[in-house]
Subunit: 232 residues, 2 copies
């Protein structure tokens, strides 16, 4: 049995894996906050993303949607950089995460993968955020798994297993696709397959670990390579 | 303000409104149960659909998915028609609801509507059922609202308002589109807009009430007419 036998559903991380948040957000920061180093500001904002989601999962914060968390971390970063961000500016910057561009291979890759698999977003964004992102980028999702469906954030079990359940699939019939090994390790721990996708430019020139892991079932250079490896 | 001002999201009933269950299911029944009148068997099966869903909403039956309910009502209809349906045949007939054909205007109509609106399924089918139906018919859903997201069946409030919440929309920004006035009346009672779509052949030659109601915001002959009325 090959590493991909029986896989019916592909579940994609979005921020970084199918979309280029650095380009989208650094562009928005540059336009809204011309006094700061947009690249560094963007990276610092993104670094605060995982930890605050983890606080929700730890029960340290009650459930709240990603936009609210991004608004909180934006205020923290602005304070660190010594700039004032008014409410309207904050709203525009938080909304900018909905229209970040896809990597060039993302839309054609998803369309090709959808010919042989059920392709789903499985993201910490909300359903509405991901729907707007998909329309903006012409992503051919068959289904959008947003964190508000479960009121949980990856790497919580409820997200991976929740998507499998909605797809009426066994966990081993679902393959998580991400450019972050922590996401794939969690998915594997709940019985999903895993595919690493290299995104060397995710952090806009700052180092990105694209080594993946020998534990993954597949390792691809982009979504078109993934499609080729999956035989579609 | 026109009847459609501010509408951003279109929520579609599926069985009957975008898909032709009579043709799909009567074909499957004819193939699996050659001894029965396939058209009458199919209509009788469909007549039992609403009542058993209502028993779940009334609390008379605990939550269970549509496939399980369809399996129960299939057994009842088979008994009424005096035929035996073994488990494998029942499974094939219940699964046939996933691949019923779209009305000819459905796929092109949804694609056109998606250029100006967020188009969602809002159906009593499961997410997996609706995903398979969409892939089979090339329906360009932006999001699939299946009953298993809420463990409720239309016309329960949780479905209409649940979809609006996931879309981060106010109820009046969502328009329910259906060929069944009861569905539209419920949607309107929760603040959604409503559009009736005529489907005179829904019951395969048996009478179908396509009068709609003056309470609806729109009345369309098919999805292409709906698109024209909505200006896309």
């Amino acid at each position: 049995m090959s590493a991909t036998t029986g896989v019916r559903v592909l579940a994609f991380d979005t921020f970084g894996t199918v979309t280029d948040w650095f380009t989208g957000i650094s562009g928005a920061v540059g336009a809204e906050l011309p006094a700061v180093d947009a690249a560094e500001f963007t990276r610092e904002w993104r670094r605060r993303y995982g930890p605050i989601l983890a606080r929700v999962e730890a029960g340290d914060l009650g459930w709240r949607g990603l936009d609210d968390l991004q608004t909180e971390t934006l205020a923290d970063v602005a304070s660190e950089f010594g700039v004032t961000v008014d409410d309207d500016t904050a709203r525009r910057l938080v909304r900018a995460w909905r229209i970040i561009p896809g990597w060039p291979d993302a839309a054609p890759g998803l369309r090709r993968l959808a010919t042989g698999f059920t392709v789903c977003a499985l993201s910490n964004g909300s359903v509405a955020l991901l729907t707007e992102m998909a329309k903006h980028n012409d992503f051919a999702w068959d289904f959008i798994g947003g964190s508000d469906l479960w009121h949980h954030y990856k790497p919580a079990r409820e997200t991976y297993c929740g998507l499998a359940e909605l797809m009426e699939a066994e966990p081993h019939e679902v393959m998580m696709v991400a450019t972050h090994q922590t996401d794939l390790d969690a998915a594997r721990s709940y019985g999903l397959r895993s595919a690493f996708v290299e995104r060397p430019d995710e952090w806009g020139g700052a180092p990105k670990d694209d080594a993946g892991s020998a534990d993954n079932d597949l390792h691809a250079t982009d979504l078109l390579d993934l499609a080729a490896q999956l035989g579609v």
